[in-house]
C-alpha cells in the first residue's frame, strides 16, 4: 500500500517546476496549499484519513514538505513564522506552484482508462470492449480512447495486412504460387504435402524430406519391414542416364570401378538388363584408392540387333556433385547440349509412338516440372499446339526449375563428340518408391493392374496418347501380355525373397486410382487358390529359379517421349471424382481412360545378403514411375495397408540389414566426409544448447571426440604402433630365436615407415581380404562353421596376416558388433581391445565381468575457471604463461617443454596404470607424446574461444591409447536391434589393430572386443562379425 502511494507521489512530483522547493520545513502559508493537493480529478479517491496517518508516521521528518491531507498533530505548522512577507515575491512563488499544480492535475498519468474513474465495485470486465457498459458521462472519453488504441494496433498490423485473406491465399492459383516460392531453396517431392501433414520434415540435400512420422511407430515400422510392407519415397535419389555404344560405355565406366570390391557395370547378369546391379565407384583411374560412393545401376535390355545401350545410374544426391564431373571426364562429354536436340537424337524405339511434333510442346517440359493438377489431356494438348512456341503456362501453373541438386541454369545433357556418348541428368524425372518387406509383392499385385488393351479398331480420336499407338504393334502387345502374366504370377508367391535378387520387370499398368478401395485394408497373399493350377505352379517355379525371362524387363518408361506424354496427359483428380460421381452404381469400378496407362518398372531389392543369420531380411521392390504420377500411385499403395517410413527408417533398414548406409558409413568418400562435418556441427550445437552444468563431461569419461571420429589419426596411430612393435619385437625375436611373429615378418617393411606420410585412410573393400578376415574373426570352435567349410581358408597366422597388412596399412574394416550381454551401443561408441584379464574373467563367469574405465580427470576445467576469473579481473591481460605454470606444477611432471600445459600428457600416466595388452603398453606412450606437441601453446586469446567444458580442445592427444583399453575404432550406427534381440552396432575398426588383436587372442575367444559408449564408463563385450 505505502509503496504504491510512494510511486504515485513520485509520479506527480515529476512534473513540478524546479523553481518550487518544498524542503523548507516551516513555510506555513505554503503548507496550506499542500493540504489538499494531490487529488487528481481523474481519481475518484475518497479523502480518507488513514493513509495520511500512515504517512505521518512513516515520514515524520517531512513534516512541512509536500504532505497530503490534514495533519492532526499539528506538528507541521511551524513554530516560528516569518515576521514579514514580501507580497510580490510571495505571489510569484505561489503562482509557480499553482501552475505546477494545474499541470499535474490536468495530466493523466500512465495508462488510465476511462473506467478507472469508476469505483472498483462498478467496473465490469467487458467495459473495455463495449463502451455502452460504461455510464453515459464516461462514454465519450472511452470511445476516444478505444479509437486511439485501435489505431495503434492497426499500425502494428500494417505489414501483415498486405497478405491476403486466408480464403484468397487458399485459392488454387495463389496457393501454387506460394508453393513455388516455398520450394525455391529446397525442392519438394511429389508426395510432399502428404508427408508434410504427417511427418517431421527435414531439409536435406536440397530437398524437403520426411524425417520421421509425428506419430509413434518405431516398432510398427519394424514389424512392417519384417512381416508386411514399409513404403518410402526415394524420388530424391538422382538418376543419371548414359546412352551410347555398349563397348564404349563399358570402357569408359571401367575406369570408375574396381573388380576386387564386387561386381562392376560389366557384370553379365545386369548387363543383359534383367537384373539391377550395384557397385562402388571411384575417382577415374584411382580404383582402390579414392572411392566416391555406391551406385545402383540398370541397363536397358538390348533391342534387336543394336549395340546402342542406355544405362541409368541411381545415386544419392550428395554423391552427384562428385560423380557427375567424373562421368563427364571418363565419357569425354564436354559439349553441353541444349535440351531440344536431345529429343530428335533419341535412339529408335522398338515402336516409335507417333508423337505430336516434339519440339514446341515438350521444350518447356524438359526443364520445368508441370506437376500437380493439369487441365484435361485433350484440351491441354490442343491448347499447347495452338499457342505454339511460347511457354503457355500462366502463373497458376506449378513449376519448379531445376531440382535440389542443381541450379536451373546448368545444362542437363552433355554429349561427347568423339565417342557419341550422351550423358543426361534425369533427376526428378522419375519417381522411385521403395517397398520393403516380405509381402511387398502382394501390395503391388493388389494395387497395380496390367493395362487393359486398347482395341486398335476404334479410331481413337486423339492420336497423341501413347498407348493406342503402342497397341498397334503386335510385338508390343505380346510382350505386354507376357509381362502381365509374370506379374500375375507374383500373386501366388508367398515372400518377395523368393524372386531372384535384383530382378527387373517392366510393365504397363492402368491408373491405380480407378481401383482405389473405399476403405483402407491390408494386402495379403492369396496363395491357396493359386496353387491349384498346375501350369501356373510350373511357371512360378521357373520365375523363382531363373528370374524374369529375357525381354520382359523392357519398358516404355525408358523412352523420354513416352514419359513426357504420360506426364502431360495425366487425368486430374477432379476429373476422376466427376467420373466417380457419375457412375451408376456408386463405388463400382471406373472405365479406364485412354490416357491412363502408365509404364512402370519393378525392381526387386535384395534383403540381407551378407552373413548367415536373418537371410534376406528387408527384401522388397522398387517401383519406378514417370514423374507427375507420384501421388496417383502413393495413395493407392497406402490404402493397401503399408506403413510409410521416413529417413530414419531408411537408416534402420540398412542397419538391420548390416549394410553400410550412404553417406553415414562412408567416411573415406568425399560425401561421407562432408556428412561427418555436418554431423559434428549439429551434435556440437545440440551439446552447447544444454546448460553447462547439465552437459556430459566427455573428458572425464575419457572420450576424446564424442561428435566425430578422427579416422585418419586412428589409422596413422595404429600403423605406428604395429610398426614400432615390429621393430622392437623383431630384435627380440632375432636374439631369442623364438617362433615367428607378426613383428618379425614385418621387420623388413618397417623401414619404409616414413615413405607414406600423407596417405589417406581407406576402407577395406577387397572381397577376398574381407572373406579371410571374416573367417578369422569367428572363434573356431563355434557352431555354424560347417557351412563355410567349402572355402579353403588359410588359418590365421602371422605370415598371412602380414601379407594382408602389407598393402593395407591404413585401412579400416567395416564390422558388425553384437553385444554378448546387455547394453545398447550408441553413436560413436568406442571399440576397444580387451585386455587378457578381461577375456580370462569372461571365460570364468560370463555375466558380471565387464570392466570399467577409471574416471579421468578434467584438467581443462580448472583452466576454464581460471580463464573466467582472469577475464573478470583484467580483461586485457594475457594470462597464458601464468596458466601454464600452474598446470606444470600441478599435474604434469613428465612434459619438459614449459609452454605445453599438462593435460594432454598428464592423462597418460594416470590411465596407464591399468595397461591394455602388455605388448602394446610399450609403444603406446610414443604417439601420446609425439603427436600433441604443438598443441596448447597459442597466445592467450585462442584457447579461450574454443575451450568448451567437457570437450577436448584441438588437437587431440593419441586417440588409440587414451583409455585403459586400446581403442580400435568407433561405432557409426548403434542401437538395440529388434531383429536379433540384443544391442548391435556397425562401425569401423583399424585393420592393423584388428589383426594385432586377433593374433593375441586365444583361439576360442577370437573376435571379442569391448564397446564403450561416449557417455559411460562401462565396457561391454561384443562379438565382431565381418560379413561379405
Amino acid at each position: 500500500m505505502s509503496s504504491a502511494k510512494e510511486r504515485m507521489r513520485n509520479k506527480k512530483l515529476k512534473n513540478q517546476p524546479s523553481s518550487v522547493t518544498y524542503s523548507s520545513p516551516g513555510v506555513g502559508s505554503g503548507s496550506s496549499h499542500c493540504r489538499n493537493g494531490g487529488e487528481g480529478p481523474s481519481h475518484g479517491r475518497g479523502h480518507d484519513p488513514s493513509p495520511a496517518r500512515d504517512r505521518g508516521s512513516s515520514h515524520p521528518i517531512h513534516g512541512g514538505g509536500w504532505v497530503r491531507g490534514h495533519q492532526r498533530d499539528g506538528k507541521a505548522y511551524g513554530q516560528e513564522l516569518p515576521k514579514a512577507i514580501t507580497a510580490s515575491g510571495f505571489i510569484k512563488a505561489r503562482a509557480a506552484e499553482v501552475t505546477a499544480m494545474l499541470k499535474a492535475v490536468n495530466k493523466t498519468t500512465g495508462s488510465v482508462h476511462a473506467f478507472g474513474v469508476l469505483p472498483k465495485h462498478m467496473r465490469r470486465r467487458a467495459m473495455s470492449h463495449n463502451t455502452k457498459r460504461l455510464p453515459c458521462r464516461l462514454r465519450e472519453v472511452a470511445n476516444r480512447m478505444l479509437e486511439k488504441s485501435q489505431k495503434l494496433g492497426q499500425k502494428e498490423k500494417k505489414p501483415q495486412s498486405k497478405t491476403k485473406s486466408r480464403k484468397a491465399r487458399r485459392r488454387h492459383g495463389n496457393l501454387l504460387l506460394d508453393f513455388n516460392r516455398r520450394q525455391r531453396k529446397n525442392v519438394w517431392l511429389e508426395t510432399h504435402i502428404w508427408h508434410a501433414k504427417r511427418f517431421h520434415m527435414a531439409k536435406r540435400w536440397g530437398y524437403c524430406l520426411g524425417e520421421r512420422p509425428t506419430y509413434k511407430c518405431y516398432r510398427a515400422c519394424y514389424r512392417a519391414m519384417s512381416s508386411h510392407c514399409l513404403l518410402q519415397d526415394l524420388s530424391y535419389h538422382c538418376c543419371l542416364e548414359l546412352r551410347g555404344e555398349e563397348g564404349l560405355l563399358l570402357a569408359a565406366l571401367a575406369q570408375l570401378t574396381c573388380k576386387d570390391s564386387g561386381p562392376t557395370f560389366a557384370a553379365v547378369a545386369s548387363l543383359s538388363g534383367r537384373r539391377q546391379g550395384s557397385t562402388l565407384v571411384y575417382r577415374a583411374g584411382q580404383a582402390p584408392a579414392q572411392p566416391l560412393g555406391p551406385v545402383l545401376f540398370l541397363w536397358r535390355p538390348r533391342t534387336q540387333d543394336s549395340t546402342h545401350r542406355q544405362l541409368w545410374l541411381w545415386i544419392h544426391p550428395t554423391l552427384k556433385q562428385d560423380l557427375l564431373p567424373e562421368l563427364r571426364a571418363v565419357c569425354q562429354c564436354s559439349e553441353a547440349v541444349p535440351p531440344l536436340p536431345t529429343l530428335e537424337e533419341m535412339p529408335p524405339a522398338p515402336a516409335p509412338p507417333s508423337q505430336p511434333p516434339p519440339g514446341p510442346a515438350q521444350a518447356p517440359a524438359l526443364d520445368t516440372e508441370t506437376k500437380g493438377p493439369q487441365p484435361d489431356g485433350a484440351k491441354a494438348s490442343k491448347r499447347k499446339r495452338s499457342q505454339g512456341e511460347t511457354e503457355t503456362t500462366g502463373p497458376p501453373a506449378k513449376k519448379v526449375l531445376g531440382d535440389g541438386t542443381r541450379s536451373p541454369t546448368t545444362p542437363v545433357t552433355w554429349r561427347s563428340s568423339t565417342t557419341g556418348i550422351v550423358l543426361s541428368d534425369l533427376t526428378m524425372e522419375i519417381v522411385r518408391y521403395r517397398l520393403i518387406g516380405p509381402l511387398s509383392h502382394s501390395v503391388l499385385t493388389e494395387t497395380l493392374e496390367a493395362a487393359t488393351e486398347c482395341d486398335a479398331s476404334s479410331p481413337s480420336q486423339q492420336a497423341c496418347f501413347w498407348w493406342p499407338e503402342h497397341c498397334k504393334d503386335e510385338r508390343n502387345m505380346s510382350l505386354h501380355r507376357k509381362q502381365a502374366d509374370i506379374f500375375n504370377l507374383l500373386k501366388g508367391v508367398y515372400s518377395t525373397a523368393e524372386v531372384p535378387s535384383g530382378s527387373v520387370l517392366g510393365l504397363t499398368v492402368d491408373d491405380p486410382r480407378l481401383t482405389l478401395p473405399r476403405i483402407r485394408g491390408k494386402a495379403m497373399p492369396s496363395i491357396q487358390q493359386a496353387q491349384e493350377v498346375d501350369e501356373e505352379e510350373e511357371s512360378r517355379r521357373e520365375l523363382m529359379l531363373h528370374g524374369v525371362p529375357e525381354g520382359c524387363s523392357q519398358s516404355p518408361l525408358w523412352e523420354r517421349s513416352v514419359r513426357d506424354n504420360v506426364t502431360d496427359h495425366k487425368t486430374p483428380e477432379q476429373e476422376l471424382n466427376r467420373m466417380r460421381s457419375e457412375v451408376l452404381v456408386p463405388g463400382s469400378r471406373l472405365q479406364p481412360l485412354p490416357q491412363g496407362r502408365v509404364p512402370v518398372l519393378l525392381v526387386q531389392q535384395p534383403g540381407k545378403q551378407a552373413g548367415q543369420e536373418q537371410a534376406s531380411w528387408g527384401v522388397g521392390w522398387d517401383l519406378l514411375l514417370p514423374k507427375a504420377w507420384g501421388m496417383a500411385f502413393w495413395v493407392p499403395l497406402v490404402y493397401r495397408g503399408v506403413r510409410v517410413g521416413g529417413l530414419n527408417m531408411a537408416l534402420k533398414h540398412s542397419q538391420n540389414k548390416g549394410a553400410p548406409h550412404f553417406p553415414h558409413d562412408y567416411p573415406d568418400c568425399p560425401a561421407g566426409k562432408r556428412f561427418q562435418e555436418e554431423q559434428e556441427e549439429e551434435l556440437l550445437a545440440k551439446f552447447k544448447r544444454r546448460p553447462p552444468a547439465k552437459r556430459t563431461n566427455y573428458i572425464k569419461h575419457g572420450c576424446l571426440a564424442p561428435f566425430r571420429c578422427p579416422w585418419q589419426q586412428l589409422a596413422e596411430e595404429w600403423e605406428l604402433i604395429v610398426r614400432e612393435e615390429a621393430v622392437t619385437g623383431g630384435e627380440e625375436a632375432k636374439g631369442g630365436g623364438s617362433s615367428e611373429t607378426l613383428a618379425k615378418l614385418l621387420v623388413p617393411k618397417a623401414g619404409e615407415m616414413t615413405s607414406q606420410v600423407d596417405v589417406a585412410f581407406t576402407i577395406l573393400r577387397n572381397r577376398k581380404s574381407l572373406r579371410l578376415l571374416s573367417s578369422w574373426c569367428r572363434p573356431t570352435s563355434s557352431k555354424g562353421q560347417r557351412s563355410q567349410r567349402q572355402w579353403a581358408v588359410p588359418p590365421l597366422n602371422p605370415a598371412v596376416a602380414a601379407s594382408l597388412l602389407a598393402s593395407n596399412w591404413r585401412s579400416l574394416v567395416w564390422v558388425r558388433l553384437s553385444l554378448l550381454s546387455k547394453g545398447q551401443p550408441e553413436l560413436h561408441a568406442q571399440v576397444c581391445v580387451p585386455a587378457p584379464e578381461d577375456l580370462r574373467r569372461q571365460r570364468g563367469q560370463p555375466s558380471c565381468s565387464e570392466p570399467l574405465e577409471p574416471l579421468h580427470t578434467d584438467h581443462f576445467r580448472s583452466k576454464l575457471k581460471q580463464l573466467k576469473k582472469h577475464r573478470k579481473a583484467k580483461p586485457t591481460s594475457s594470462s597464458s604463461s601464468h596458466k601454464s605454470d600452474d598446470k606444470q606444477s600441478g599435474s604434469a611432471p613428465i612434459s619438459t617443454s614449459t609452454s605445453t600445459p599438462g593435460p594432454d600428457t598428464s592423462s597418460a600416466p594416470t590411465i596407464h596404470s591399468t595397461p591394455g595388452p602388455p605388448s602394446l603398453s610399450a609403444p603406446t606412450p610414443l604417439p601420446s607424446v609425439t603427436l600433441p606437441a604443438p598443441s596448447l601453446t597459442p597466445p592467450s586469446s585462442s584457447p579461450t574461444s574454443d575451450l568448451i567444458l567437457g570437450l577436448w580442445p584441438e588437437p587431440l592427444p593419441s586417440v588409440s591409447s587414451h583409455c585403459s583399453r586400446v581403442t580400435l575404432g568407433w561405432v557409426s550406427q548403434g542401437d538395440f536391434s529388434l531383429v536379433s534381440g540384443c544391442g548391435e552396432a556397425l562401425g569401423l575398426v583399424s585393420l592393423p589393430g584388428l589383426l594385432h588383436m586377433l593374433l593375441g587372442q586365444p583361439e576360442d575367444q577370437r573376435g571379442l572386443v569391448l564397446l564403450r559408449n561416449p557417455s559411460s564408463l562401462q565396457y561391454r563385450l561384443a562379438k565382431v562379425n565381418i560379413e561379405v
Binding site: R223, S226, S227, H228, K259, G262, P263, T264, A266, A267, V268, A269, S272, R275, P438, L439, Y494, S495, A497, E498, P500, S501, M524, P525, S526, I527, Q528, M544, L545, H546, Q609, E613, A615, S616, R767, G784, R786, S787, Q790, W791
Partner: protein
C-alpha cells in the same frame, strides 16, 4: 486364410543348417568350381500358416517351442496342431511331438507325415564380368509334418 494378422511371424522356420550334400543338382550347374562361385541359400519356400501350425527351428530354445505347443493345445483351444520340421529340425520336431504326447498321459495322438521340400541355392559368380549369369540350383531336403491331436471321442 483363417488368420487376420501377420502370417509371417517370428515362428517362420529359419533355414536350418543343412548338412546333406546336394543330392540332385540342376543340369546347368553340375560341375561348379567352388572358387568361382559363392553359394547363397535362399530361405525355404514359405507356406500359408494357420494359427495351429508350429514351425520348429534350431535357433529358438527347445523349451520355449515346447511350451508354445502346449499352450496352443491347452489354452489355445485347438483340438489339433501341426508341428513342422525341416532338415536338421526334424529331430527336434519329433522330440517336441513325443514330449507333448508323454506329458498328456496318452490323451494325445500323433500322425506323422514326411515330405520332400525343394530348396533353392543361388550361385553367384565371383568374377561377375566374365563368368556369366548367376546360376541357381535346386536341392531337396526332407521335412516332417506331425499332427498332434486329441482323438475324437466315439
Amino acid at each position: 486364410m483363417t488368420e487376420p494378422r501377420s502370417p509371417v511371424s517370428a515362428s517362420i522356420p529359419q533355414p536350418p543348417p543343412v548338412v546333406v550334400p546336394p543330392p540332385s543338382t540342376d543340369g546347368a550347374a553340375v560341375e561348379m568350381d567352388p572358387v568361382e562361385y559363392t553359394l547363397r541359400k535362399r530361405l525355404p519356400r514359405k507356406l500359408p500358416k494357420r494359427r495351429n501350425d508350429v514351425y520348429v527351428n534350431m535357433k529358438t530354445d527347445f523349451r520355449a517351442q515346447l511350451a508354445r505347443c502346449q499352450k496352443l493345445l491347452e489354452g489355445g483351444g485347438h483340438r489339433e496342431i501341426c508341428v513342422h520340421g525341416l532338415g536338421l529340425a526334424i529331430n527336434r520336431a519329433i522330440n517336441i511331438a513325443l514330449q507333448l504326447q508323454a506329458s498328456s498321459q496318452g490323451a494325445l495322438q500323433l500322425a506323422a507325415n514326411t515330405s520332400t521340400v525343394e530348396l533353392v541355392d543361388d550361385l553367384e559368380p565371383e568374377d561377375p564380368d566374365e563368368a556369366g549369369e548367376p546360376m541357381t540350383r535346386t536341392r531337396n531336403n526332407s521335412a516332417i509334418h506331425i499332427k498332434v491331436f486329441y482323438p475324437d471321442p466315439q
